[in-house]
Amino acid sequence: MRRLPRKDAVIVGLGWTGAIMGHELCQAGLQVVALERGPWRDTASDFNIGTAPDELRYGIRHDLFVRTAQDTVTARNRMDQEALPIRRWGSFLPGNGVGGAGVHWNGHTWRFLPSDFNIRSHYLERYGEGIFPENHSIQDWGITYDELEPYYDRFEYLAGISGEAGNVKGQILPGGNPFEGWRSRPYPTPPLKMQHAQNLFQRATTELGFKPFPLPSANMSQAYTNPLGVTLAPCTYCGFCERFGCANYSKSSPQTTVLPVLMRHPGFEARTECEVVRVLKSPDGRTATGVVYVDAQGEEWEQPADLVILAAYQLWNVRLMLYSGIGRPYDPNTNEGVIGKNYAYQANSSVNGYFDNQLFNSWAGAGSLGMTCDEYNGDNFDHTGLNFVGGANINCSTFHARPISARPVPPGTPRWGSAWKKATRDNYLTTTNVGSQGSNMSYRDCYLDLDPTYKDRLGRPLLRMTFDFKANEERMSAYVTDKMVPIMRAMGAKQIVATPKRGPWNVVPYQTTHNTGGAIMGDNPRTSAVNKFQQVWDMPNVFVLGASAFPQNAGYNPTGTVGALAYYAADAITQQYLKNPGQPLVQA
């Protein structure tokens, strides 16, 4: 193993959080190197309009995601089962290469509700201990919405998010989300144009007493130049967003917001196809001294650095911490230790509506084109007597109708033959969907550790995921899905099929790439891996970015909060930590 010259900071992974942190550290004058296991990717060369809209290549064969032969996880539902490797991605789709999953996300860009951050104490105070599910490990985040607000704002203005504010400095505004936390100013760009399905949804929900509002979107409603001087172009509703790179510069991603500035920063260097295999520690085990990585030729390098930033996505952050012996691994039997603890996911549901006389043309859509209602999210509704914690947003979004994967037919239709062919033709343009994005609480027996059997290509144990949807999530999902059916009826569907979330969790159908927890934040080193600045309690020169910090997951997509936390950590490093490096920012 050869040793390279020291850097001020090494960043593991050049996706959303790595790019944001890289830029902030370079601005503070640091010499920064980012190591990215996947290839270089850029709009003009890699997301070209003549090759990008290829459903088979990107949507079905997963060309932009990490190959399972390079990195995968093993999965099981319960601790008494044997975990098996995910050989073909299904339930979630981890990113790879410059831009990370920020290249091929859908762009729903949310803030969590204020009460999501102190969920444990909030529910305890309002409903008493009895509301919490059996075996739960729900925790407060150790940070408040008010502390995070300026950083949500920074991420939204970096990314040019299109939306309609519902609460500016406490003033509730028509057309926005009346339940959202206060925001210091409106969204940087107005909402996207809506499709026919959203128009019907808006009418139906308004009649039923909901307050629908546009889904906050990282697809641009108009051209936008962000504070770094990088310009995004208007979205063209091409229908190739999630799982695809955008050929239009109209979806916010590291490529379209940060990298054009970061890549030419004199303090910055990126090395692609370099996979970090572990973090190195000082002999006393209290500081990280750098990382070891393997390049494309299979050669090992040591990169010494004063500051180590893990920005490798939730799963791989946790795996690197377990490999490197950072923090104490979680033990579900004793409930002690923290690394791997509180793995959670997202409990989504859907209601399909088959119509006679409406043409939805759903192939004309954008990743986050949608209308949403938040009446049944978080604790926006009274949970007394409901016997569950959490909730879900209800949305009607039109993001694609790519024909290999999106050909809805009513139940009872044969899967092939002439009857199938006719039903496919009759329903393709006339079906739409109302969905819910549901919270997922944390439990003692849902966690990540290292697999005892299966190894990766370098001979290291794979990450093992033990996870299932619990009764709390099933009850929540059934309750919210019940509220969605009347909406679909009011929209005029002739046939309605409701699919609330039920266990067991299955690795095959795509659900969401919203994996959370495993290196959670909190105010106590006994029960959390990082403090509110994302700094490792036991190793103050290591910061861990991403949804690995979520103690449980809320009823929204994660990246708005992931981006805000990255900015919050960056400010803490540049304004506090660097004055006194190597010290914890919060006393344990």
């Binding site: 003549g50 092939w416 033709r425």
Partner: protein, 258 residues
């Protein structure tokens, strides 16, 4: 390179990336010359030509044996029959599509985690757990199927079955009713079924969805990439024909590129 407003920054980023890679290479003491494997003399292109993905053309089978190919052609034509709504799976090129997929990285399970152990009975929630690559699964599955048909249909092969017989056979495979020690009926059914649907609805560059038959059937307009006008006219039938990554048969000149 200046695509849309931000182009100059993007091209700058590429430049700095190039310098960065060179710097890294030098740092690591590697041979810098290896970076430019392609030598360009003068212009990096030939006049009046661009280079879209080369289209898959019908022709000799690359993976299937003649027997396998005729069995697959018969099956895809029952899964998607030719009828008053349009071409069937065979005419739409589904067998060609599958053949080319199996001859390529998909068939070899390239990039797929293939390390064992492979347990006998994975949980239904644990997904795909076969030690066989798709190419191996087809070879083995089609041989098993041929033997099964020969035993049960008086020595005939799949192409010799009537449409009705073949439908009955496929239904019993789909319902997991046919399993012998050497061959798992539902596994081969699922594989052929999924690949047939892919072939019928994927971009025609892969050899299936010929003349965009699948897209025309349902009304998918393809890769036009800009549908802002559609949002101006909600609930209106879209009447323009579909476009693929290689254009449209009626505007590609005869004897065009290939």
């Amino acid at each position: 390179m200046n695509v849309r407003s931000e182009g100059f920054q993007m091209s700058d980023a590429r430049l700095s990336r190039r310098t960065l890679l060179t710097a890294t290479t030098a740092l690591m003491g590697l041979v810098a010359a290896a970076a430019s494997a392609r030598t360009i003399q003068g212009l990096p292109w030939t006049g009046n030509e661009v280079y879209p993905p080369p289209e898959v053309r019908p022709g000799p089978w690359l993976f299937f044996t003649p027997d396998e190919a005729s069995a697959i052609e018969a099956i895809v034509d029952r899964l998607i029959p030719q009828d008053e709504l349009g071409p069937g799976g065979k005419e739409a090129g589904c067998a060609v599509f599958i053949d080319r997929q199996l001859a390529g990285p998909y068939g070899r399970a390239e990039g797929v985690y293939m390390q064992g152990p492979f347990p006998e009975r994975p949980l239904p929630t644990q997904g795909f757990q076969s030690p066989l690559t798709p190419a191996q699964a087809y070879r083995k599955g089609l041989a098993g199927l041929a033997a099964h048909v020969s035993r049960n249909f008086g020595g005939r092969g799949i192409p010799q079955l009537s449409g009705e017989e073949l439908d009955r056979l496929l239904t019993s495979l789909e319902k997991r009713e046919v399993n012998t020690p050497e061959f798992n009926g539902s596994e081969i059914f699922d594989l052929i079924f999924n690949n047939t649907m892919e072939g019928f609805f994927a971009d025609p560059i892969y050899g299936g969805n010929r003349d965009m038959a699948g897209w025309k059937l349902i009304g998918f307009p393809g890769t036009r990439y800009d549908f802002r006008d559609v949002l101006e006219r909600p609930n209106t039938r879209y009447t323009l024909p579909p476009v693929s990554l290689i254009g449209r048969p009626d505007w590609n000149r005869a004897g065009g590129r290939g």
